[in-house]
């Protein structure tokens, strides 16, 4: 059983990590597309329509990959985690079914119209199709985050006499406080991916002196929205996430921070390698008292270390959790710096000529993907050893009859298929960027409508 459990965990981890490459961009881009379409509608300027069309093509490719890699996620609750599905399906089945009924129908219906129906719909109708695609994808995000939030911090449930977990309060599930903050934090991460990608493509056009008017629009849009998102990512949403973990998942907080011993005035470790066997942090670079302050707003506040908890309640992948968390926070801090600097240059009208800044924006493009992935790894590794925090352990959740060999078979299958999809994705996106928003008119002023 132990071995099969590990394969099931790896199975879910691999497929969800690959899947989330796509929705984080499409959810972020959906917002930016509404922004571009609104600009087009208000100014009547064809430039914004063309810009939106270019991003709609990139959106379409990512959306398709998000859909095809997303269906396996819902299935896996039943295929690989049957014991969990049986115990908790009555609760989280609600949010997952609502995602299908409320967001997927909306998204899929209007995406077709958004991508294929610009001429049929007219300007206002097309704006609405963009808005409804945005609404659908953001609703979808909420239902998924609410599902995860319930696993992090179960609310609105009761135990049936037979031991099954039953829904007791619909609003308790849907308006879980954990879900609201986690949603804000997750969506800001997605917006940042959208902004960094848009700004990077713009910077690429400006640096290579092609499609320069579009390049300016992309850089400006990405930097303006990205600056706001980067700041909100840290405060208040990241800060609130940390507080919720400090209050509800104390061993998790200690493991994330690499804090083995309880301390009054606990330091914040910036760097260092957790040595779990010897219960210490090697080569620490620390800010004294900072962890206590961030957690409790008191410099001398007492923070519990891992030693205060039974080892059976420790997350089982402490180093990975620690590095994920530090990567996420470190990158998030860098994003604020990069975006704010670019915004200042934009304000003084120097951004489009500041080649070093454009280079920075262009090279930053993989970083938000890494940060978002690291953030999810922090949440999910931090939840361990629980599948539903405090209610059901991960070891109890896997499918009892699916052997390790069968799980390996399908995991290897997914790895092969996703490698091909990944190469295909890079290739198609590269082609779209290479063709640009205005094929055949690289240096000229955008031509009038065709």
């Amino acid at each position: 059983m132990g071995q099969a459990l590990d394969v099931h965990r790896l199975h879910f981890a691999f497929t969800i990590t690959f899947h989330y490459i796509f929705p984080q961009l499409t959810m972020g881009l959906a917002l930016l597309l509404v922004y571009l379409k609104t600009k087009a509608l208000r100014t009547g300027d064809e430039h914004y329509d063309r810009a939106a069309r270019f991003w709609a093509r990139i959106f379409g490719i990512n959306f398709a990959l998000g859909v095809v890699t997303g269906i396996p996620m819902e299935f896996q609750f039943g295929t690989n985690w049957a014991a969990f599905a049986k115990a908790a399906g009555g609760v989280i089945g609600q949010t997952l079914a609502m995602e299908g009924v409320f967001s997927f129908f909306l998204e899929s219906s209007f995406l077709g119209l958004f991508l294929f129906g610009e001429k049929r719909l007219g300007r206002v109708g097309h704006w609405w199709s963009a808005f409804l695609v945005f609404l659908g994808s953001w609703l979808s995000g909420y239902f998924i985050v609410a599902t995860d939030a319930w696993m992090q911090h179960p609310t609105g449930y009761q135990l049936s006499p037979g031991g099954e977990i039953e829904l007791a309060s619909f609003w308790g599930l849907v308006l879980n406080k954990w879900a609201l903050w986690q949603y804000a934090h997750t969506m800001l991460g997605a917006v940042q991916t959208g902004c960094f990608v848009m700004a990077a493509v713009g910077a690429f056009y400006l640096l290579t002196k092609r499609h320069e008017t579009y390049g300016q629009t992309f850089v400006r849009t990405g930097v303006l929205v990205g600056t706001i998102a980067a700041i909100l990512q840290l405060f208040p949403t990241g800060d609130m996430q940390g507080k919720m973990i400090a209050n509800n998942q104390q061993p998790t907080l200690a493991a994330m921070e690499g804090l083995f011993e309880s301390k009054q005035g606990a330091p914040l470790a910036i760097l260092g390698q957790p040595d779990v066997e010897n219960r210490k942090l090697d080569n620490p670079l620390e800010v004294p008292n900072m962890l206590s302050f961030l957690t409790y707003r008191e410099w001398r506040g007492a923070v519990k270390g891992l030693s205060d908890f039974s080892q059976t309640d420790w997350p089982d992948q402490i180093p990975l959790l620690y590095y994920s968390y530090h990567l996420m926070v470190g990158l998030g801090t860098i994003f604020i710096g990069v975006m704010a600097l670019a915004a200042i240059l934009l304000w003084y009208d120097k951004l489009y000529r500041a080649r070093w800044m454009l280079w920075t924006l262009m090279l930053c493009v993989p970083l938000p993907y890494i940060a978002n992935t690291a953030g999810w790894m922090t949440a999910e590794l931090g939840r361990q050893p629980w599948l539903i925090y405090g209610l059901m352990r991960t070891a109890e959740g896997a499918s009892p009859r699916v052997a390790a060999g069968n799980a390996w078979f399908t995991l290897i299958g997914f790895m092969g298929m996703y490698t091909v999809l990944g190469i295909l994705w890079l290739f198609l996106i590269y082609r779209e960027i290479e063709q640009g928003p205005d094929p055949g008119n690289e240096r000229a002023v955008p031509a009038p409508a065709d």
């Binding site: 069309r53 709609a56 093509r57 379409g60 490719i61 398709a64 990959l65 859909v67 095809v68 396996p72 299935f75 609750f77 039943g78 295929t79 690989n80 049957a82 014991a83 599905a85 049986k86 115990a87 399906g89 009555g90 609760v91 989280i92 089945g93 609600q94 997952l96 079914a97 609502m98 995602e99 299908g100 009924v101 409320f102 129908f105 909306l106 899929s108 219906s109 995406l111 077709g112 119209l113 991508l115 294929f116 129906g117 001429k119 049929r120 049936s160 039953e166 829904l167 619909f170 499918s399 009892p400 699916v402 052997a403 069968n406 078979f409 399908t410 298929m417 999809l421 295909l424 198609l428």
Partner: protein
């Protein structure tokens, strides 16, 4: 309450089969009836704006099954582990093929995706049929409430069952033929010229296979699953469902001869609805029969808590009403025969 959800999920799955059925069927026949790039583009254009929405019915039905009958979801999905994963891979390949084919025009790019699209559609139709066959035949559930089926054992309907045996393969082939007919009628309705007439002709040919296999499958199903006979003799009003099947099948031939493309497609919908409702009616109250009847999952022992089922009904009705609205709007927006002058902004053009 669980009876309501049993019916609602059956309705969702039926809608899924009617809608995704035509685009799967269109995929399964497109290599046969469309030779040139322009013809293949016509077929893709006839399903392009809607296939994704059609597939959402499967996802939504899966989600609804999950919260209304969590025990069924857990047992069924883990027991059918291998075929479900293969279905997922086929869905991934097929979705990629539809979306990526038209991005590049090249002598090796589009034939590759056409082949994948055709092959995956064909296999999906067979697998969905075989899955239905498995549910009707029953699975080796035991006292733990779980089972695991290998892809095949000895191809017999015994106690040592596999996903594929002669019965489930038979249903798989029937499903393929029925969806080829259904998809052919859709393509006939939505396209023009050679493709449209070839599609109609192919549907007419598939019709005979559907007729023969429907008769055989009906006869053997009574032997494979005794609950079916019991239900039809206890509640004779249920014969309305097989009647619908017969009427639908007759209607297809009749309307094909009359060259009414729209009614022929609707008759095929009636046939598929009749088949699925007959199965569902025949199985009730079983949701997943076990080879040993003692361990069968029924609506009563697989359902979720009552509060959840009640509250679910509120948002479900709201959500599906909205979805029905979107679908009506989308299908209206893309109504009529497809034309290949680019009606888009050159997405993938």
């Amino acid at each position: 309450m669980e009876r309501v959800w049993f019916c609602l999920i059956a309705i969702m799955l039926t809608i899924y089969v009617l809608l995704d059925g035509f685009d799967l069927g269109a995929g399964a026949i497109h290599l046969l009836i469309a030779k040139t790039d322009g013809e293949r583009r016509q077929i893709l254009a006839s399903i392009g704006p809607v296939w994704d929405g059609n597939e959402v019915w499967l996802v939504a039905a899966g989600g609804t099954l999950y919260f209304a009958f969590p025990t069924l979801y857990a047992s069924g999905f883990s027991g059918f582990y291998l075929p479900l994963m293969i279905v997922l891979w086929l869905l991934i390949l097929r979705g990629s093929a539809i979306e990526f084919r038209n991005h590049i025009k090249s002598a090796i790019w589009d034939p590759f995706w056409d082949f994948l699209f055709g092959g995956s559609s064909l296999l999906l139709a067979i697998f969905f049929g075989a899955a239905l066959g498995n549910v009707v035949r029953g699975v080796p559930l035991d006292a733990s409430g779980y089972f695991f089926e290998p892809l095949w054992t000895n191809f017999r309907v015994g106690d040592d069952t596999g996903i594929l045996d002669w019965y489930t393969i038979l249903i798989g082939v029937l499903a393929l033929l029925a969806l080829m007919m259904h998809g052919g009628l859709w393509v006939q309705l939505k396209t023009t010229g050679e493709v449209s007439s070839r599609a109609g002709k192919l549907s007419g040919q598939a019709w005979w296979g559907v007729l023969v296999l429907t008769a055989i499958v009906t006869a053997v199903t009574f032997r494979v699953q005794h609950q079916v006979l019991e239900n039809f003799s206890n509640w004779p009003w249920g014969f309305i469902f097989p009647l619908l099947t017969v009427a639908g099948l007759a209607g297809v031939l009749f309307e094909l001869r009359k060259r009414d493309e729209r009614k022929a497609f609707l008759a095929s919908c009636a046939y598929l609805t009749g088949m699925l409702t007959s199965v569902v009616f025949g199985l009730y109250p079983l949701v997943l029969p076990a080879r040993n009847p003692l361990y069968s999952l029924t609506v009563a022992n697989a359902k979720a808590g009552n509060y959840g089922l009640k509250i679910g009904l509120v948002w479900w009705v709201l959500g599906i009403t909205l979805a029905a609205g979107y679908f009506t709007y989308v299908y209206r927006s893309f109504s009529g025969k497809v034309t290949l002058d680019k009606d888009s902004h050159g997405y993938g053009g």
